[in-house]
């Protein structure tokens, strides 16, 4: 962002542990804002905070029912107001987000951002309560919805296979918490736990607020200046504990689907420095992402084994997953091909052309991330987590500094951990 004059980044510390990051730009017709609370990722707290998000968005003192709350968002030109819990590496992030059209584009240029922020603050600070507790019927209904969502994981077999791989691979690690939440743990959540979780957010959890839109840093800071958030510790993301798999485990399960789903999980410790993380990005690009990548060309195009065979890196945790879908009779061939392609990079390296094309593709993605209010805010969040000043110039330079041997080192550092296969029950060969 610092590269472009039409973006103005400013960081304001409202008070210790509560910071506002604003990117002021007139490029967009919509603005994006998120209030993020950072907490350790634990199996005990994760479902409580997820449920808390659902309950907080059910009703406020001023808009006590879901209908009244939704009516208020509709009146604000279909304001999108969401609260949810996610994880970045082994950190839990509880986010309250809003996306709305800029005041200049409402009918009659009606100003809506200030009212939108007020609504977000209402959800966060003034939820509807009865006798000091969250409304029991809301809690009960949201527990059912959350339970149904957990049970519905089997409906999407790609996602299901990924979660099962995660459960096996990171069984005792915080990283797999989202995959390990069970209906029973939702059923056990009490009203008291929800109240405590809410208090913890408001009193203790470090807060980072991100805004991208037409308003100045001063205007946004003014909108948040009355937030009852006391001082708290600042946030720093920790390094994951290194894990070295003893064997390459194979887990096979069956289901009634036609197409077999497979996920191969790897680990790497090479994520400690900015250069190591940039090398992982380039490895990912060259190995599996683009239509000229090793897996696309060799596993899909040359062998016609699958429609997709793609990797997912997580530089916060140091894991890399390759997912694919194929015939039952072909899953071992797909796995062998993936391993062979990895071995080829480890032994023979990558070409200068692959490196150049990989860099160009990543640069395209970095530049493109400045093209929406949402992606600018997300990029800012990741920069802040890494204690870096947001901006695309630094990221472009970093990718440019990666050498072919760095990519090979990343390939060599990947240790296969778990091969998860969800076999189809109906043979199609």
């Amino acid at each position: 962002m610092n590269q472009k004059q039409d973006f103005q980044y400013q960081k304001t510390e409202l008070r210790k542990g509560v910071r506002i990051h604003t990117v002021t730009t007139d490029r967009f017709k919509s603005a994006f804002l998120s209030v993020n609370f950072f907490l350790p990722l634990t199996l005990k707290d994760y479902p409580v905070n997820s449920l808390l998000c659902d309950v907080l968005t059910r009703g406020t003192e001023k808009h006590p029912t879901l209908r009244e709350l939704n009516r208020a968002t509709d009146e604000l030109y279909s304001l999108s107001l969401n609260a949810y819990s996610k994880h970045i590496g082994e950190t839990q992030v509880v986010s309250f987000e809003l996306s709305c059209i800029e005041d200049d584009f409402t009918i009659g240029k009606m100003p809506i951002l200030r009212d939108s922020v007020s609504l977000l603050k209402e959800v966060l600070f003034s939820p509807l309560k009865e006798e000091g507790s969250f409304v029991k019927s809301y809690v009960r209904q949201e527990k059912k919805n959350m339970t149904d969502a957990i049970l519905a994981r089997i409906n999407n077999k790609d996602r299901y296979a990924f979660y099962r791989c995660l459960e096996h691979m990171c069984a005792d690690e915080a990283y797999s918490v989202p995959a390990r939440v069970l209906p029973a743990s939702v059923a056990r959540i009490t009203g008291r736990q929800l109240t405590a979780a809410h208090r913890r957010l408001l009193q203790e959890a470090p807060v980072e607020i991100f805004y991208t839109g037409r308003k100045s840093a001063e205007e946004i800071t003014d909108m948040f200046s009355d937030m009852p958030l006391p001082e708290r510790r600042s946030f720093a993301i920790g390094s994951p504990e290194p894990v070295h798999p003893e064997t390459f485990r194979v887990i096979r399960e069956t289901s009634g689907i036609e197409q077999c789903k497979l996920v191969i999980g790897f680990r790497t410790e090479r994520i400690k420095t900015p250069l190591e993380r940039a090398s992982l990005s380039l490895f990912h690009e060259i190995f599996s992402t683009s239509p000229v990548s090793r897996l696309f060309v060799n596993v899909r195009e040359k062998q016609s084994l699958c429609y997709y065979c793609a990797g997912t890196p997580d530089p916060y945790k140091g894991v890399y997953f390759v997912s694919s879908g194929t015939k039952n009779s072909n899953y071992q061939r797909v796995c062998d091909s993936v391993m062979n392609q990895l071995e080829a990079i480890r032994k023979s390296g990558v070409t200068e052309e692959e490196l150049t094309l990989g860099k160009k593709s990543i640069w395209h993605g970095i530049r493109e991330s400045a093209d929406s209010a949402y992606s600018i805010s997300v990029s800012c969040l990741h920069s802040v987590l890494r204690n870096q000043i947001p901006g695309i110039g630094r990221r472009i330079d970093l990718i440019g500094s990666v050498k072919a041997e760095d990519v090979v080192e990343t390939a060599r550092s990947l240790e296969p951990d778990t091969f998860y296969v969800l076999e189809g029950g109906m043979a199609n060969e």
Binding site: D6, R27, F28, K29, S30, T65, L66, R67, N70, R71, D74, E75, Y77, S78, I101, D104, F105, T106, I107, S137, Q141, K144, N145, D148, L151, A152, R153, I154, N155, R252, E253, T254, S255, G256, Q259, S290, P291, V292, R300, E301, S304, C306, Y307, G325, K327, L357, K359, K360, S361, I362, W363, H364, R367, E368, A370, D371, A373, E423, G425, N428
Partner: protein, 434 residues
């Protein structure tokens, strides 16, 4: 080039310029201050174009299901054995393609090398190359794509289409089946490209920070000097107004039943009328089933539906329907509630105040996507395919009259034209193997 026209809508800060290239290609440029340039070349040939005469007087060609999508995959291959993905990669561009019921679109997005990428796009889509070998290779890949799409949500949707339509190709999957794509030959693919892949049946839409002159220069370089007319005559089978069957039920490995309730609606052949009716239907969907409506909130609070509940209106060439979707413990209760609500609202429409707020929601939902070069270009393309101007959508919504929306509700949601697709959980437990 000729008939250049610029359309600007100040209230939403949008504009485009449209030109017709000498080859017959329609070229839209949408100026946007962005790092990324997004280009999409759309051919009016989609999954539903499976019955046509190459020109008047010639015999009808009937295609197996999935040909348009198969073609989309094959257009990336060059005669010298390379593929255009490798060429795009030289500039770091992202390239892709997709097939819908009505069209096939080829696209790239880049932040450098725009002209070179545009050359690749125009060349690859106007220079088809197919052989028995390359087709056989693709049959394996697409076979896996077909299996990948066999998900519960696709199944419940495909079954509803089979209920609503007797003969319209919207009944069939865009990718076809393993059996139907096995029938594809180079001759069949060439028959399609010769007929439909002509510039006068295509549009090129480019959104971003671009110089329109450079776009026309590349078009001059790559495309034919003279207009090649599109002579195809589409010969769709007549689709009755009634539904084909009232219900399909199936078992699937899912956690809760899924239900999709469909209402077959009258087809509007006039593009202007279709846009007005679509705006009315979307406002009606918001009023009937939107998040701030009585219906959604009552059923949500009673635990009959959850946040996944959805309702939508879709129309295309020769088809139009509304679909109401939910995952729920008891699909019969939801069905009864939906039918009851429609019955009530047919008799007594919504208050004007609610109508105005619903319009505001649909209006705003059409503005936020215009921030993205991708969404702007694809929206423009989608409207072009249907003979419509995407910048008139906001006017169609804001100008919608209460009485018209009320009339459209009665025309669209008719009890005699509904069908239901249900998917129930089967009891096959997951088994662990050792």
């Amino acid at each position: 080039m000729n008939d250049e026209k610029t359309v600007r809508i100040d209230s939403i800060g949008e504009e485009y310029t449209v030109r017709t290239h000498r080859s017959g290609l329609t070229v839209f440029t949408i100026p946007k201050k962005r790092s990324e340039i997004y280009a999409v070349l759309t051919v009016r040939f989609g999954a539903d174009d499976c019955r046509f005469r190459p020109e008047k007087g010639k015999p009808v060609i009937e295609l197996p299901d999935g040909v348009a999508h198969f073609l989309e995959h094959k257009m990336f291959e060059e005669e010298d054995g390379t593929d255009s993905f490798a060429l795009y990669a030289q500039t770091g561009a992202f390239a892709n393609a997709f097939t819908t019921r009505d069209c096939t679109s080829y696209l790239f997005s880049c932040t450098e090398g725009f002209e070179e990428n545009l050359r690749i796009l125009l060349r690859s889509v106007t220079h088809p190359y197919f052989t028995e070998q390359t087709i056989a290779k693709e049959q394996g890949i697409i076979g896996e794509e077909i299996d990948m799409h066999k998900t519960p949500s696709e199944t419940v949707h495909n079954n509803l289409m089979k209920c609503l339509y007797h003969v319209h190709p919207v009944r069939n999957d865009i990718c076809g089946s393993r059996e139907s794509i096995a029938k594809i030959t180079p001759e069949l693919l060439y028959a399609c490209t010769d007929t439909f892949y002509v510039p006068s049946n295509m549009s090129l839409i480019i959104a971003g920070n671009i110089d329109p002159a450079s776009v026309m220069r590349v078009c001059d370089e790559v495309l034919p000097e003279e207009k090649v007319p599109m002579k195809a005559v589409r010969e769709p089978l007549p689709e009755p107004e009634s539904v084909a069957c009232p219900s399909i039920e199936e078992l699937s490995e899912i956690s809760q039943p899924m239900i999709l309730i469909g209402f077959k609606a009258p087809v509007r052949n006039d593009p202007e009328e279709d846009m007005r009716v679509t705006a009315a239907n979307m406002v009606n969907m918001e009023l009937l089933f939107g998040r701030s409506g009585l219906f959604f909130n009552r059923l949500y609070e009673e635990g009959i539906i959850n946040d996944g509940f959805d309702a939508d209106y879709t129309s295309g060439f020769g088809y139009a329907h509304t679909a109401v979707y939910s995952v729920c413990d008891d699909p019969e209760i939801l069905l009864e509630e939906v039918m009851k609500e429609i019955d009530v609202r047919r008799k007594e429409y919504f208050p004007e105040e609610d109508f105005e707020i619903a319009k505001r929601v649909i209006y705003a939902n059409g503005i936020i996507p215009l921030d993205s070069v991708e969404e702007s270009a694809l929206t423009c393309s989608d409207f072009w395919v249907h003979g419509q101007d995407y910048l008139r959508w906001h006017e169609a919504v804001s100008g919608l009259r209460y009485e018209d929306a009320k009339r459209v509700l009665n025309e669209t949601l008719r009890k005699e034209n509904f069908a239901v697709s249900r998917l129930y959980p089967c009891s096959i437990p997951f088994r662990r193997r050792h």
